[in-house]
Symmetry: C2
Subunit: 880 residues, 2 copies
């Protein structure tokens, strides 16, 4: 059996999986000669063994720990439990993947009734010694013995009250002795045994407690959120204590080697004189900014600066460093890559590359595309004067503005009618999903950052504020009250999910912009990536924004969004409710010029680049009034106004809505199935495209329309629709004399299309994988139903590793994508292939698209930068 | 260029694709020395050439026809257009696949004002000659010149009226001459030219007319119905006329060499003395049974019998023979394999094998499994005394009994509540599909055999009567009136779709039974087939029937059908509406003994054979009241009885129904997704299975339960559910001490399951392909919506070659099935695989299952014999 306990100087950074992140770092720092207090690491293997043995620390392991301890004693010249020269140690967790604050720590271990006396004598500071001892008992009591923290605090409070003291620092050595006795009494009462005086027993207890903390509730939740496997286990680091609280020549602090918020190259952090690390964290005393240390301890500051430089050079990244000064000696307790905002991540990566510490490719790898989502959201114009109503928890970033609505059904209906809404609920449940999908943003007055609304909104990239407790919501009256202000259904509300601000009325939103460093990074990305990046955009504004962000074309222009605009809905309804072909034709003729103008705007914005336009996709009843509401209205009218004209009219509409009603609209009469049964609708759209193209070309603008037929499952469908497109194109050309270059392709979004891609490719110039629908049909999941009814539980219970609507299911759906590409190219080697589902803007899915050999991904405008970076990272992974 | 016109004696039976069925037969009969009037065939190639040339008979072809004509003139010693000894010919179509009555024929061609005189002299029968001539003009006018038949008939009627004659036979030679003049005048008026006197022109005209008739409306429809390709073209047979109407020593007839209705070995047919073939068909004179010929023309009869024997021996099948006797000489005009009922087909195939004409394998190939559907339906007990209300068109065979319902929605609801219904509508439209699906049978008072109701019902194998015009349907009053009898909604009605009989009240139905010959044939089939045949059955009666029909196990026992029974629905609703886990448990505890008894009955009926039981599959809201109805009720109550207790209760139910409501239930919370979220439901079902098995085993009966988890898409789902099954099995065994042998498997019914079958097989003992759902998800079709909204048009327009819900889409869905089998066996070579969708009882799908290497197919009980035969045919095809 291999060694399961190693001293710091025996390890190195590459032993992370064994030593954990912290242990490997301590070892590495020791190895390169930094002033690290000595110690040893009990490896993750020992932790796994502990669990295998049914939560038992076996004798062999105990022996190994004692062996390491005795070597530590040699190194330090101190001995655990020796009153003459006591060794005190910290016992800390250290997982392979950092889980800050999730697991337990015990400090000052080794103190007992005897060694505390020794410490008192050695330091000539009895108050310090008893303070250390009471801190140790308190932590040990909490962490190892499971007695709640507040019960110890209450004893200290009693003493402070008795002494009329406000701060801990006002208590004397005697006070602490009194406190210690009461602490020991509490432990005796609670556990039935005395506080352990044997330092070895203390040590075993602390090690076991740290192992156990791997499976405490918050650690498990943290792992789930951050997708960290449960079977890694944690290492335990036993390290000589150093004390920042030994007087005015001592102190402790935390610093980042660069500003973690902006990325600026400056030491950033804070410190406290005469304090232990926990004092900094606890926030009882206000720490000073790290820059102030330059005056307070100029030599130490200089040494620290130098060490920070060394650390950055060694780790080639911005570091988050914990240090302690014990009686004028600087110790580095920990260093790790510092967490940073997306902004800082970009700047630091680019700066490090500019400084020559890393190369450009490394800089590209340093930024997590998923994190960029933070800065690629609309935000409130900082110039705007805001009427801030209240604040809640900033649960999902981005800002939104819309009409307030108090139930999900109405949110969906209003949104379908083209009205932007903010869904306001006491809290959301899975039954509200369709409302969240429809809304611009969500506000709840209950629930925290991990509430249903928060999780779902983040998943969808929608702004969300949770736990906005000051907003009193009255669902019956349909109003929200904040103090004396009442906001009623239909009134305008704005939210900033990044700050938690709730604002009455509309506020100007501005699009995100790219910093110079971000631009630089993306330029490097463009040099590396093979995948092209396009955008999903349905209007000129989004198209222009996407192009500014580097989009290389429109991958998906959904024409139905154009039908949804308020002024079009009556025309669209007229078209659908038409009783004859002629009536339908006349409604279509009115829609044509509107559609044409839409297309012209998009062609202009994408000048010279391809624009893929998908013909009408959703079932027609989506444009009609809601069936259930109609039933209620008709029933009511038939009781109250039997025989009235209004009733007759409504009954007529109800009849039509019923006739278009579907059991499973997702699998119903939509996509090219509409185009085949009502070719006049597609013909109108195609005519609008070609007229728009012709007119735009007359402006001297190059136009590259790619016409996309949705939901093809059999090559014959595409063949028929392609014929229709060609006929209309020929007709328009005959009339205008202006040929328009165009291609015709299809969405691959039902499994049969991928399975028969070799056939379908005969009629297609391009394939665009509609992975949203393909995921629905491949799994047999209706997204609307699944996310509300079982999908979250599936992910919680690890039935599925990920939400397949967010991260492409490479095993199943991906197999169809790969098959589609391969079979399609067998028939037509030059076939252009892309992806236009939401996965087109998600890191791991983009990586898959790269591997599957697609030509491009297409995503929402704000995700284009993210996709450019992710595509570059995917290409870099090939180089390995 | 190859020869496109051949004389009969130059051809043979194996030239069918060139000569057409009729031409090849004439050639073959000529070749084997039968008395066939000589002639020649213009090949299908010439027809295709005609269409390629834009409907032109090119000069080269005309020359070839004349060349053949002159050889025919040599053979017969007669000459076309020669008044001295005129050759008269028939010109008939002859497609490769017989399309009886669909295309055109011209008889007596060669007659003109001169040759008719010659014929008159030669036959010494002026009346006969002029009758022939007028017949020719009439047919030519109709077929070649496009003048409607009735306009000629009207002229004849005028003459008959003038003469006070009732029958054609009462008209004299002079009368016919008068008629002929008027016919020629009609033609002149209608076409602007004279009736052509040049026999060559007549011949070209007739050939072209036959070619054109390939694309007449009824031929096109016939091809669509019978799935005959449009690009085969027809041959044209030009044959010397022989006349059965030359006096009492002449005659004509049609006979089958065996009884086409029963299959008995006896000449079956009819003849007319002194008549032409069309007289037999027209039904003006009543023909005599063929047996009577033995007395009338004993020598001819003997000769004919002998020829029939030769023909059967030569063609090794029952023949349908047309013959003519001209002045004591027997001519055979046509022979072909005779159409026969399913009963006859079975008997003839077995008899021919017994007689040594064909071997057993050939006998198996001779019966079309699809035809067997005719005899494998429930029918009305012949002993029953029936109150026959009225009769309609027998549009889809089988008998059914149920409650009369006048709209599709209600039909569906009542059926869901376990009440059998007969859907009665004036006519059905695609919007009624769900009602047809739900109903036991369908009755309409409009529409014919090809109406929507008829086509859909036949497709689904449901009894249907159409065009029942005496039934007056009042949709508002919800009643049907026949004479004075009124049948109201909810009253019992029975229909026999095989006879068209509508019967008031309930009638006893009896299951089909297998004749001795059918049993024999199936025994032969069993010796040949590799595929096992199981049945889909949910109750002991169906299970027993299926076993009687040779089922080798239950392939699919749908447990939800047990939930639908009237006495269970309240319990099931209680279980679903439970507000707590405890409430649900208690409802489940009440369901358990009922389910257990169900299983015991099935285990007993399938003693010793495997029974695959699928756990609950449909979404829970299927068991609840209809949402739309509830909304209407609640709206009404809230207007009329605001605040009432009933309103509150209904609102409560509405809330729950709404919360279970799904946008796409087909893709929603069902199958194992239910089992994973509510494991207690599956646990109850599994417990019922194991308790039933234990108790049945105590009766000394061998039980082989196979527990099937529905809708698995990821191996983890199956892993969890398998654990649950094992736990319950262990628990029951611990309690009873009786181990039950069992296996656990899954349905493969979403594409992802097939794509990841290698993973899923790790947890599965068997795969059962649920091709209904797999078709829905692979195509992205909701069957309920597609069949109503676009699928029929897709098939009409040939976007899809077949309805994929009836005949397995081998290209797409089949690819997934084959992949599932292959990948599953990679992981687990002994994996058992079967199919349990409706395709399991369809011939071509069964063939695919055989080829894909499945172990079994499973189908409804009455289709088991069909499947046994189809499986044998599939195996025989391998031998080729």
């Amino acid at each position: 059996m291999s060694k399961k306990v190693t001293l710091f100087h025996e390890g190195s950074a590459d032993m992370k999986s064994l030593l954990g992140g912290k242990g490997a770092n301590l070892a590495e720092m020791t190895r390169v000669g930094l002033p690290v207090p000595p110690g040893f690491t009990i490896t993750t293997q020992a932790c796994l063994e502990y669990y295998e043995q049914g939560r038992q620390l076996i004798a062999e392991r105990k022996a190994e720990i004692l062996e390491a301890l005795s070597r530590l004693e040699e190194q330090t010249g101190k001995t655990l439990g020796n009153p003459e020269n006591p060794l005190l140690v910290s016992v800390r967790s250290g997982a392979v993947i950092s889980m800050p604050g999730m697991m337990d720590t015990v400090l000052n271990l080794g103190l007992n009734d005897e060694t505390v006396e020794g410490l008192s004598k050695l330091t000539e500071n009895p108050r310090f010694a008893y303070d250390c001892y009471r801190r140790f008992i308190q932590m040990y009591g909490d962490v190892v013995l499971g007695i709640q923290h507040y019960r110890f605090e209450r004893i200290i409070d009693q003493r402070k009250e008795a002494k009329g003291a406000k701060l801990d620092t006002e208590l004397s050595a005697e006070d602490w002795q009194w406190v210690i006795e009461r602490f020991k009494q509490l432990i005796r009462e609670e556990t039935g045994t005395d506080f352990p005086q044997d330092p070895r027993e203390q040590l075993y207890g602390a090690v076991v407690a740290v192992f156990d903390s791997w499976n405490n509730q918050r650690a498990k939740i943290y792992r789930k959120i951050h997708k960290i496997p449960d079977d890694l286990g944690t290492a335990v680091n036993v390290q000589m204590m150093v004390f920042g609280n030994m007087g005015e020549d001592s102190g402790t602090g935390v610093a980042f080697t660069r500003n973690p918020s902006t990325g600026e190259k400056e030491l950033y952090g804070e410190y406290l004189i005469n304090a232990q690390g926990e004092d900094v964290v606890a926030g009882i005393r206000t720490p000073e900014p790290i820059a102030a240390l330059a005056e307070r301890m100029p030599e130490i500051f200089e040494q620290f600066q130098e060490i920070c430089g060394k650390l950055e050079a060694h780790y080639r990244d911005m570091q988050d460093v914990e240090f302690t000064v014990e009686r004028g000696n600087l110790y580095i307790l920990q260093t790790r890559s510092g967490k940073r905002t997306a902004h800082a991540a970009v700047k630091i990566a680019v700066d490090l590359a500019m400084e020559g510490l890393i190369d450009q490719k490394e800089a590209l790898k340093r930024v997590d595309p998923n994190q960029l989502d933070q800065i690629l959201h609309r935000r409130i114009d900082p110039e705007a004067k805001l009427e801030i109503l209240t604040k809640g928890l900033p649960a999902s970033p981005g800002a939104a503005s819309g009409l307030i609505v108090f139930d999900a059904d109405k949110a969906e209906r209003w949104a379908n009618e083209g009205r932007p809404v903010i869904l306001v609920r006491p809290e959301t449940t899975p039954e509200d999903i369709h409302g969240i999908v429809a809304a611009q943003g969500v506000l709840t007055n209950r629930g925290g950052m991990t509430s249903h609304a928060a999780v779902v909104a983040r998943g969808m990239g929608k702004p969300c504020i949770c736990g906005c407790e000051k907003a009193k919501i009255d669902l019956r009256k349909k109003e929200m009250k904040v103090g004396d202000t009442v906001v009623r259904e239909g009134e305008r509300l704005s939210i900033d999910g990044g700050t938690g601000q709730v604002i009455q009325g509309e506020v100007p939103l501005i699009d995100p912009e790219l910093s110079a460093e971000f631009q630089q990074l993306l330029t490097w990305a463009d040099e590396v990536r093979r995948l092209k990046v396009r955008t999903n955009a349905d209007n000129p504004h989004d198209t222009a924004k996407a192009r500014e962000f580097g989009a290389e074309g429109v991958g998906l222009c959904r024409t139905e969004h154009m039908f949804m605009e308020a002024d079009r809905v009556p025309l669209v309804r007229e078209m659908i409710l038409a009783e004859s072909f002629e009536e339908r034709q006349s409604a279509l003729a009115n829609l044509l010029p509107l559609q044409k103008e839409d297309f012209k705007g998009i062609f202009r914005a994408m000048e010279g680049l391809p624009v893929t336009i998908r013909l009408l996709d959703p079932p027609l009843h989506e444009f009609l009034p809601n069936l259930e509401e109609l039933i209620a209205e008709v029933t009511k009218l038939s009781v109250t106004q039997s025989g009235s004209r209004e009733l007759l009219q409504k009954e007529n509409v109800l009849r039509k809505v019923r006739s278009l009603h579907e059991f499973n609209p997702m699998l119903g009469h939509r996509g090219c199935r509409l185009g085949l049964i009502y070719p006049e609708i597609y013909a109108m759209q195609v005519e609008a495209i070609f007229r728009a193209a012709t007119e735009t070309m007359e402006e001297g603008i190059t136009v590259c329309p790619e016409i996309m037929i949705p939901l093809v499952g059999h090559v014959n469908e595409l063949r028929e629709m392609r014929k229709l497109v060609n006929e209309v194109a020929d007709r328009v050309e005959a009339e205008t004399g202006q040929p328009v270059p165009y291609t015709v392709g299809t969405m691959i979004e039902v499994p049969r299309a991928a399975l028969t891609a070799n056939e379908i490719a005969k009629e297609a110039d391009f394939f665009s994988f509609g992975t949203n629908d393909l995921t629905q049909t491949t799994f047999g999941y209706s997204r609307d139903d699944a996310e509300g009814k079982f999908l979250h539980q599936y992910i919680d219970q690890k039935i599925l590793p990920e939400n397949p609507f967010i991260s492409l299911d490479t095993e199943g759906v991906g197999q169809l994508v790969a098959m589609g590409v391969e079979k399609g190219r067998q028939t037509k080697p030059a076939l252009k292939t892309g992806i236009c589902g939401e996965h087109g803007g998600e890191k791991s899915s983009i990586r898959f698209c790269h591997q599957a050999g697609l030509d491009y991904v297409s995503c929402s405008p704000f995700r284009v930068p993210l996709a450019r970076l992710a595509a570059a990272q995917a290409a870099l992974q090939d180089e390995k």
